[in-house]
Amino acid sequence: MDDISFMVEKGDVVSVLGPNGAGKTTLIKNICRIQNPDSGFIFIDDTNIHNYKKREFAKRVSYVPQQIVPSFMTVFDSILIGRRPHINWAVTKEDEDMVWDVIRLFSMEKLTLTYLNQLSGGELQKVQIARAVVQNTDVIILDEPTNNLDVANQHAMLAMIRSIVKKNNACAVMIMHDINMALYYSDKFVFMKDGQVVNCGDKNIVTPDLVKEIYGIESKIMYNSGMPIVVAKKSDFNNEEKLNEIGWIKKK
């Protein structure tokens, strides 16, 4: 990955978009110090992230990974882990109260004492995001936050992330695949391809040409009460020709 450079300001929700294998996850893992860049620097408030102590850094940046590891822990205890950077010796009442508040924020009261390995994929995803919220950081990094969620929950989750970011004057960087969801809920966009940033900026940079360059498909932009919607052309996904060319037919 090279030639990556962009800036995120306080109060911004930023979507990182691009085809599979474009280096989106590598980028955000570098931002969270889960991986280290071979060269180049990442700054938060003019301080190189590698100059922070591990615990101090964890107080500023939280991370929601793509994969979910279910374990033998209750939802409450699992969200409580997010307080780890703030806990010196023992968990305090304040930590537990914060977990309660976030559980209510995400309407998961009924699941409080359920073990993670008994939850559905969508519920697990909510627990992950709740854990990052309870970490109470200035920057939240999310790897496909809408994974495993149904349409209603996708909207609810992204709206919640946006509200939290705006209210706390924090910022969120999230990897998105649904370009329209991204248009709906974010302020800035970073388009990546082959390990490079192709373009970044606000809504206005999203054009049929950019979509063609990034994903290689024809599209047009329509407007629904002022909101842009990217619609792909149907003909791009007609594979009859390819099937005929390879001769793939169901064997009888």
Binding site: K29, C32, R33, I34, K54, R55, E56, F57, A58, K59, V61, S62, Y63, P65, Q67, I68, V69, P70, S71, F72, M73, T74, F76, D77, S78, I81, G82, R84, P85, I87, V91, E94, E96, D97, M98, W100, D101, T112, L113, Y115, N117, Q118, Q128, R131, V133, Q135, N136, D138, I141, I164, K167, N168, N169, A170
Partner: protein, 368 residues
């Protein structure tokens, strides 16, 4: 930040409303009660066990002897013979169980324990070397032979070889950045190498030495003396405090290593140190009591089912469960008191089927 101030306000307002009906408080209390019940059970089993044997005593007589240390026959029997054995069961049981539960966490594998990682085999080989060197007079020095046949000599050898194993495992798995799978595979390989080495050692020594090695290998608590116990106890206290200090880090690792890293946990350092310390504990236990299987697996797994996988409670609870298992097994083994069965045989004999039962009842992730 804003969120914390909001939370403070809210929690004050709604504290009364939630009151004692807070399900989480109830859940925490339940865990504590379970642990207390297990501690009580361990004490009861110890008292009964103290009265068992050729010189049989009632529980009241045992309590009386413990409280008023008189120099009668019962005093000698209890203080010099039976009590060290009880303490050995408690110390070894808790040491094996806590090292098992820590290894299961850092390697994210339900089957990890000192035995699956070859550490017990390596320690057993080391201790057997020490016995062989002593019995066969390899050095022709009486003091050295005595030293080699003591807990210090055997522990040192057991420690040396288990550290060798850990070192090799660490070097081998360094390439894969300490991925749990590669650590376990390396451990299995090292275990089989040292198993073979132990067999060949047994093959080449004379019959008297062979008898000593085999008898020691059975896993027996009766050899423990007060001075052996104090040595193991020091290690147990130090290492347990390390594990308990990192209990929240183990919780974060349970959620996935990327999350642990993003929460500020130095996962590589913690993995290596935990492996090292868990191995040291296992090696010393093997040196003192021989090979005692299944406690490191059964203790943590039973407790995960009873109180869940939160390491804040799981670590102490596993220790209590490990002690209880060893106390019970030891008591059962001593029922035929003319020829007591070594505890290692009982734990494997009863622990194996019990473990299978748990696995059949629910799969280990807790689904029915």
């Amino acid at each position: 930040m804003n969120l914390s101030s909001i939370s403070k306000k809210k929690s004050k307002e709604e504290n009364d409303e939630r009151g004692n009906s807070n399900p989480y408080l109830f859940f925490k209390a339940k865990k504590k009660i379970i642990i207390l019940i297990l501690i009580a059970a361990s004490i009861v089993v110890s008292l009964i066990s103290l009265g068992m044997g050729a010189y049989s005593m009632s529980v009241w007589k045992v309590i009386e002897t413990l409280l008023f240390n008189n120099d009668s026959v019962s005093g000698v029997v209890i203080w010099d013979i039976r009590l060290p054995r009880i303490f050995a069961a408690v110390i070894v049981g808790s040491a094996l169980a806590i090292s098992g539960s820590v290894m299961q966490c850092i390697l994210r594998n339900p089957l990890a324990s000192p035995y699956t990682l070859g550490i017990s085999n390596a320690a057993a080989f080391g201790a057997a070397m020490s016995i062989a060197a002593s019995y066969m007079s390899w050095f022709n020095e009486t003091w050295l032979e005595d030293a080699l046949n003591s807990i210090y000599g055997m522990s040192s050898f057991a420690f040396l070889f288990s550290m060798l194993t850990v070192g090799i495992i660490v070097i081998l798995s360094k390439k894969s950045e300490f991925a749990p799978e590669s650590i376990i595979l390396a451990g299995v390989a090292m275990g089989s190498i040292f198993g073979a080495a132990l067999s060949s050692l047994q093959y080449f020594v004379d019959s008297e030495t062979l008898q000593a090695i085999v008898f020691w290998q059975f896993g027996d608590l009766s050899k423990a003396t007060w001075s052996d116990l104090s040595l193991v106890l020091i290690f147990l206290l130090f290492i347990t405090s390390f594990f308990i200090y990192h209990r929240l880090d183990y919780n974060s690792i349970e959620a996935g290593s990327d999350i642990a890293k993003s929460l500020g946990v130095d996962t590589q350092r913690l993995t290596i140190l935990s492996m090292l310390f868990a191995s040291v504990l296992a090696a010393i236990c093997v040196a003192m009591a021989g090979i005692i299987g299944f406690v490191g697996l059964l203790g943590p797994h039973l407790m995960r089912r009873l109180i869940g996988g939160d390491y804040r409670q799981l670590l102490p609870a596993s220790m209590v469960m490990g002690s209880l298992i060893l106390l019970l097994s030891d008591a059962i083994g001593r029922i035929p008191f003319e020829s007591p069965i070594p505890v290692g045989i009982i734990t494997s004999l009863l622990g194996g089927p019990m473990f299978l039962y748990i696995l059949v009842k629910k799969d280990w992730r807790g689904r029915k």
